[in-house]
């Protein structure tokens, strides 16, 4: 096995191992009731945000395009999930929550993916930062659209309307305009979130280490050179973007079905930026980093509740400090020295600990 392959394998194993160990530990803590209520309530959202961060990393870190509307896809997934789940329950009386959840998540992914294709086709043909602008607008458009969306179900049929009046009498409301998706039966579980994270990791990590994934990274590193090698840039940028949209839609469905309501204001531009922060903090192209930073930054605001009014201020300060520390060459070399002996265990031959990489 070559050195690069070995490095990659270890990286992937560490990523999976970390997620699996975290899951087992948390499950045991839940079993032993050793976990606070607020943290328990956070478990599914953490899973959703991890998937959001990892999928956005595929777009930003690997294909090198800036997407500022990732929460829009999440919103689509959340609403689709809520509608599908509500409809299945009302129309088919489907009591099997697992099956309902799976169908809702799949539907959320598909619908979000379709929107991803619709946005990607015109925008990814262009060079430059158009994707950032268009996805920014997309997020806002989706938020405004779901704000006036009314969906009801009656006699096994779904009724859609952007004006409440058009819905027939006697429908069970699933989405009620600005009130959002209402009366959702929360069916998301931590285990479902965990499995979805694993699926996301398999998709993203396997993709980036394959022919298609290398093509995606090549378009990021040098567009003209990639084209000269016969790599169709639009196709591979599209592949990354749509895959990310599908994953975000699935995360949205998971997230939406975790609470009794989903409101449009949950998926604002701020949320897109939040996910962007997860990705940047974890490192562009670093999947493990995304997982850790998404977890850390989702838990942090809850932990900071005791600061009350100063919560967001402290959050910002912590964020800045983390960025400074992880990017400071001196501190990096210190960390490398600290973990050098551990790292050398994985290497083929023992290597003396150098002054750290200052790249």
């Amino acid at each position: 096995m070559t050195k690069a392959k070995r490095r990659r394998l270890i990286y992937n194993l560490v990523t999976f191992a970390l997620v699996i160990i975290a899951y087992i530990v948390l499950q045991n803590m839940i079993g032993a009731k050793a976990i606070s209520r607020s943290l328990k309530g956070l478990l599914v959202p953490i899973c959703a945000w991890i998937i959001m961060a990892v999928s956005l990393n595929l777009v930003i870190g690997f294909s090198g395009e800036l997407s500022l509307g990732h929460a829009g896809f999440m919103s689509i997934g959340a609403y689709t999930g809520a509608i599908v789940s509500g409809w299945l329950l009302a129309a088919f009386d489907m009591q099997d929550t697992t099956l309902r959840l799976i169908l809702a998540i799949v539907a959320g992914g598909i619908i979000a993916g379709i929107f991803g294709v619709l946005i990607g086709i015109p925008v990814l043909r262009l060079r430059g930062d158009y994707l950032a602008i268009v996805t920014l607008a997309f997020g806002e458009i989706i938020r405004n659209l779901v704000n006036v969306l009314y969906v009801g179900t009656a006699d096994g049929k779904l009724h859609f309307s952007f004006l409440n009046k058009k819905l027939p009498e006697g429908v069970t409301m699933l989405v009620d305009g600005a009130k959002g998706a209402v009366k959702i039966k929360p069916i998301s579980t931590f285990t479902a979130g965990f499995i979805l994270i694993l699926i996301t990791l398999v998709i993203v990590l396997n993709l980036v280490n394959s022919r298609a994934g290398r093509a995606i990274q090549a378009t990021r590193d040098n567009r003209i050179a990639a084209e000269s090698m016969g790599v169709s840039v639009t196709k591979y940028k599209m592949m990354a973007f749509v895959t990310a949209a599908v994953l975000a839609g699935m995360a949205g469905a998971l997230y939406g079905l975790n609470s009794s309501t989903v409101v449009p204001t949950q998926f604002t531009f701020n949320q897109s930026i939040n996910v962007l922060v997860f990705v940047v903090l974890g490192g562009l192209g670093n999947v493990l980093g995304s997982v850790i930073s998404a977890t850390f930054l989702t838990v942090l605001p809850e932990v900071l509740r005791e600061f009350a009014d100063f919560r967001m201020l402290v959050y910002a300060v912590v964020l800045i400090l983390v960025m400074i520390f992880t990017n400071n060459p001196l501190i990096r070399s210190f960390i490398n020295r600290l973990f050098g002996p551990v790292k050398s265990l994985f290497r083929g031959k023992p290597k003396s600990v150098s002054g750290g990489d200052l790249q």
Binding site: T2, N206, S210, R211, Q217, A218, D221, I224, M229, M239
Partner: protein, 285 residues
């Protein structure tokens, strides 16, 4: 003689039948590269004008000229980075009109870049594997699900990449991040990457730039070796005259976007127009 044949005989640099070591190029009627009145304007400025050139199979040709003569622009026209304002480019007799860079690449044209354009965050081997993108394929789903085909094709890619890296003895560098390689190695990697696309015509933009005389000499041998081994035609831009005169069978001199001379090394060296373009006009009296 048909009209097309006559035109080709006018634009050829090496006389037909040439006395080259590879006689097959004369047997074949269709040249690897043919340009007809190729030209491009940038806002009224004719960067390249009436550029006619024919390159036969397995021919090594040089494109030289003073700075700003339009050499790299010619490369960009040939590879469809620019769409020409006038004229046509034919690869193996096929017109590139309206094609994208990707389509041109699939027709068998590969290049290196003057300002190195490696995928610098990827490893050396991965760079070569991008060159193999259209040679050894499998789809996205196969890659994600790691189906048997994935392992088979990955193995083939790896073996082929190693084989290609061996040309320049770069196998040991396979796992290095390409952006961290020394300059000369980056240039060589670009050539390997271009060769991986299995081109019929290889365009080298200043392959010896930044190399020391020893490296240049080695490169010269390798260019001839590559031609013999892969049976491809090579067109190169270079300022190092020892390399150009040493390896190129035909040379084309460009000045202010126009061809001022064409021929073999000896002819070019004796051409007064070329001397003037490089050294300036001799004062009268």
């Amino acid at each position: 003689m048909t009209e097309a044949k006559k035109r080709r005989s006018d634009t050829r640099m090496v006389p037909v039948p040439s006395h080259s070591i590879v006689p097959e190029r004369d047997v074949d009627d269709i040249p690897v590269l043919e340009t007809r009145h190729l030209g491009i304007e940038f806002g009224g400025l004719k960067a390249v004008d009436d550029f006619n050139l024919t390159i036969g199979k397995t021919e090594i040709a040089g494109l030289i000229g003073p700075n700003g003569a339009g050499k790299t622009t010619v490369f960009n026209l040939l590879t469809k980075v620019y769409e020409p304002t006038t004229g046509a480019v034919l690869i193996n007799g096929q017109d590139l009109h309206g094609m994208s860079i990707v389509q041109a690449s699939r027709l068998g044209i590969a290049r290196t870049f003057q300002n190195i354009r490696l995928f610098d965050k990827m490893t050396v081997e991965e760079n070569v594997r991008i060159g193999l993108h259209n040679q050894i394929k499998y789809d996205m789903i196969t890659g994600i699900l790691r189906l048997p085909r994935y392992w088979k094709q990955e193995k083939r890619q790896h073996e082929r990449a190693m084989e290609l890296l061996d040309i320049f003895g770069m196998q040991d560098l396979a796992d290095e991040v390409s952006g961290s390689l020394p300059y000369g190695a980056q240039r060589r990697l670009e050539i390997v990457r271009a060769l991986a696309t299995e081109p019929k015509l290889l365009l080298l933009d200043e392959p010896a730039a930044g190399m020391n005389p020893h490296e240049t000499e080695e490169l010269m041998e390798n260019i001839a070796k590559i031609r013999d081994r892969f049976g491809i035609a090579i067109l190169l831009i270079e300022h190092d005259m020892s390399l150009v005169m040493g390896v190129c069978e035909g040379i084309c001199v460009l000045n202010f976007g126009r061809i001022i001379a064409k021929g073999t090394a000896d002819e070019i060296q004796a051409n007064p127009d070329v001397i003037e373009a490089y050294l300036g006009k001799k004062k009268e009296g």
